[in-house]
């Protein structure tokens, strides 16, 4: 199995994740898209680490996981807070930032 396939898979996963973030309105689904993109990058990191024969790619993948975990905690907390306030988890309802 060629390492290129992993890169292609990573690209596909990233694109699916990005499309999810851009196209879906439900905050939870958007969140899942973000996770998908993060994992796509993780896959790319590991693949390139393997390709170059050093460990730094794998180490960064761990960092990304840690950051992703923290991000999930904060993100879900925000989503719950918004849901409590507005009875909605649609990202398009939360557009007060513009004014």
């Amino acid at each position: 199995m060629e390492l290129t396939h992993y890169v292609v898979l990573s690209c596909i996963l990233f694109s699916v994740g990005a499309a999810t973030v851009l196209l879906r309105r439900n905050a939870i689904i958007v969140f899942m898209g973000v996770e998908l993109m993060l994992n796509a990058t993780n896959l790319a990191f590991v693949t390139f680490g393997r390709m170059h024969g050093d460990l730094s790619g794998q180490v960064i993948a761990f960092f990304v996981m840690v950051v992703a975990a923290a991000e999930v905690v904060v993100g879900l907390a925000i989503i719950i807070a918004i849901f409590r306030a507005r009875r909605s988890v649609s990202v398009d309802d939360v557009d007060l930032l513009k004014s």
């Binding site: 990005a18 973030v21 851009l22 958007v30 990202v91 398009d92 939360v94 930032l97 513009k98």
Partner: protein, 666 residues
């Protein structure tokens, strides 16, 4: 360029000016202090001094005159060669190489002025007590009058150009305050402002002259400057002379800075008599005569002085012929008479003494004429239009007689005062100057013809006021054709004693002063320590023929005026007239010229500057701000608050960056 040490050495070497003041002259500072204290008390005490303020003003003026007399006696008690003193009072600005001290110059010239200013000033204070009786602001009026007298005395007693400048500005301020004394009327306030601004133009001349003196001589003291003037370069001295002349033109209402004097008549009549006839406007003559050593070095500057004087004397005389306002006609006459003085001063050593002589006699008879005009206005309900007077001799006998004596004096009829002084100026104007004989003929005939025109317009003024038929409404309602019955009802009456007394005293001066001072050339001899001795020079025409010619012209002018304004009926409104008369009625277009040449371009310039400031300077910054605002407004549309749109932007940006990196890498 002389250094300061050499200047000091040369002053010490000069024996003409003594610094050791004899005891008899030590009172000199009190001449100035008395009216100055008077002004300060009257201004600071405010309404509290309303009841006695005018008497205090009068007392300080008289006190100042008495001190002046003491100075005169003190000087007369000394030898003629020892009559020039510099009295140092205190150091004003001690500054190393530049030491400015306050000191008084006591010599025949300054004492002459002190006596003229304080004597005429005292009489006019006395007159004003009655003239301003019904004015609520009489105390303020006397405060300003005192301030004026003090400033004028500083001007004539100063021993340096800087202190002279202090007095120069002081009289300008007092003149401004008094012209605009009835400032609630817009016309008066505008006239005051006009006088002030035109005087500032002249003052620039004095300031520049002082700068040139400082740069050249390192000092502003008369003693140093006059001592060093012959050694300096001719160009610099000529420049100083011309700048001093500019200053004199501004203060003395000489061409081309003459336009303010007519409007200055907006002030109360005693002010016109004291400031705008007898004293302040003659300060220019004083400045030129005082700076005689400078003008003696530069014949060119002196020639310009004489030309300015000759032009103004004709200019003023022509205006005087057409004015119907009695005070403005007198103002035009003042301008013309000062033209005579400036002309005499421009003739050099043969003319200096006569300039001052005419100044003194003019101070008396013109002040008398103005007070007479004030008395007429007082009796006629502040009417100034001479076409509304006529036949007043029966109603105001004292005014008529004193005014008549002043009229004869200004005409130059012997043996009245004006004859002795004006005739000497005409004679001096005819004295040939080596190298340019044309001057004698030009200046001589200008002065001669000026005397004829003077006779005409002063007689016109006199006959229109006191002679002819009544042209005012006496309220009797008779319709037999003795006078018009329209206009305000007038009850002409003689003025109170306080007003007629000064007029009588001045009339005595108009009659006797000239002859008295001319007796044995005593006045000229008295001034010699200052003006220098001038050898008697023969005019191009014999003296007897000049006197005859002058008198013929004067009598001709009087007869002409008598036929036109005493025998014939004078129309109540100004009739249509020739182009020259129309021009003279509007002061020979002096205001129009000033407005076209200076005011309008000035306005355009400021308007252009304001416009360019708005459009270019402000426009640059305001335009930059507007541009940033527009950019901001456009970009703000991107901030729509939708999270997904931000995400799409980020993604788009990322794709662009990746594309650029890939493109660059390949």
């Amino acid at each position: 360029m002389p250094t300061v040490t050499s200047v000091a050495a040369s002053v010490a070497a000069s024996s003409a000016v003594s610094n050791e003041v004899p005891a008899s002259l030590e009172l000199a500072p009190y001449v100035i202090l008395l009216p100055l204290v008077g002004a300060a008390v009257l201004l600071l005490a405010g309404r509290r001094s309303d009841r006695w303020g005018h008497w205090l003003g009068l007392a300080t003026a008289i006190g100042s005159f008495v001190v002046g007399l003491v100075l005169l006696v003190g000087l007369l008690g000394l030898d003629a060669g020892e009559r020039v003193y510099d009295m140092a009072l205190y150091d004003w600005l001690p500054g190393g190489t530049l030491d400015v001290g306050v000191g008084l110059r006591i010599d025949p010239l300054s004492v002459t002025f002190v006596l003229l200013v304080t004597f005429v000033g005292s009489l006019i204070h006395l007159y004003s007590v009655a003239y301003m009786e019904h004015d609520d602001d009489r105390r303020r009026f006397f405060a300003y009058l005192n301030l004026f007298v003090a400033a004028m005395l500083v001007l004539v007693l100063a021993n340096s150009y800087l202190l002279l400048f202090v007095g120069w500005e002081g009289v300008g301020l007092a003149s401004y305050l008094l012209i605009g004394f009835w400032y609630r009327e817009r016309k008066n306030a505008v006239a005051a402002k006009k006088a002030f601004v035109m005087n500032r133009v002249g003052d620039i001349g004095l300031i520049v002259a002082m700068m040139l003196m400082l740069a050249t001589f390192g000092s502003l003291d008369f003693a140093v400057v006059h001592e060093q003037a012959p050694a300096a370069s001719l160009g610099i001295v000529t420049a100083i002379g011309l700048m001093l002349l500019l200053a004199a033109c501004g203060k003395s209402a000489q061409f081309p800075l003459q336009a303010w004097l007519g409007d200055a008549m907006a002030g109360p009549t005693p002010v016109s008599a004291l400031i705008h006839a007898a004293t302040m406007v003659t300060a220019g003559v004083y400045l030129v005569v005082r700076s005689a050593p400078i003008f003696d070095v530069s014949p060119d500057a002196r020639l310009v002085v004489a030309i300015i004087g000759a032009v103004t004397l004709v200019f003023g005389a022509i205006i005087g012929c057409a004015k119907d306002d009695i005070k403005k006609a007198l103002a035009a006459s003042t301008m013309s008479q000062i033209g005579y003085m400036i002309l005499a001063a421009g003739l050099g050593p043969i003319g200096y003494a006569f300039a001052i002589f005419h100044l003194v006699t003019h101070g008396f008879f013109k002040a008398g004429l103005f007070l007479g005009a004030g008395s007429v206005m007082h009796g006629m309900g502040d009417q100034v239009d001479m076409r509304r007077f006529g036949g007043l001799s029966r109603y105001m006998k004292v005014t008529f007689v004193t005014f008549g004596l002043g009229w004869l004096a200004i005409l130059g009829i012997p043996p009245f005062s004006g004859f002795w002084s004006k005739d000497k100026i005409i004679e001096a104007a005819f004295v040939p100057v080596e190298g340019s004989e044309w001057q004698a003929w030009v200046f001589g005939f200008t002065a001669l013809i000026g005397a004829g025109i003077t006779a005409f317009y002063m007689s016109r003024l006199f006959f229109m006021t006191f002679g002819g038929k009544r042209r005012w409404n006496d309220g009797s309602g008779d319709v037999d054709g003795t006078g018009p019955q329209q206009g305000p009802v007038q009850h002409p009456h003689e003025s109170p004693l306080l007003m007629t007394l000064p007029m009588v005293v001045l009339a005595f001066g108009s009659v006797f002063l000239g002859g008295l001072l001319a007796w044995g050339d005593s006045f000229v001899t008295w001034l010699e320590p200052v003006t220098g001795h001038a050898e008697h020079a023969e005019p191009v025409l014999p003296v007897w023929s000049l006197i005859t010619l002058t008198l013929l012209l004067v009598v001709g002018g009087v007869i002409l005026a008598w036929r036109q304004y005493a025998v014939a009926d004078v129309p109540v409104t100004a009739p249509p007239a020739s182009a020259l008369t129309r021009a003279a009625r509007v002061d020979l277009y002096q205001d129009a010229v000033n407005e076209t040449v200076f005011m309008r371009p000035g306005q355009y310039l400021t308007r252009t500057l304001v416009y360019s400031d708005k459009e270019v300077v402000d426009g640059t910054w305001m335009g930059g701000a507007a541009l940033l605002g527009t950019v901001g407004r456009v970009w703000r549309k991107a901030q729509n608050g939708f999270v997904r749109s931000y995400a799409a932007t980020i993604l788009g940006g990322l794709i662009v960056i990746v594309a650029v990196v890939l493109a660059l890498a390949s």
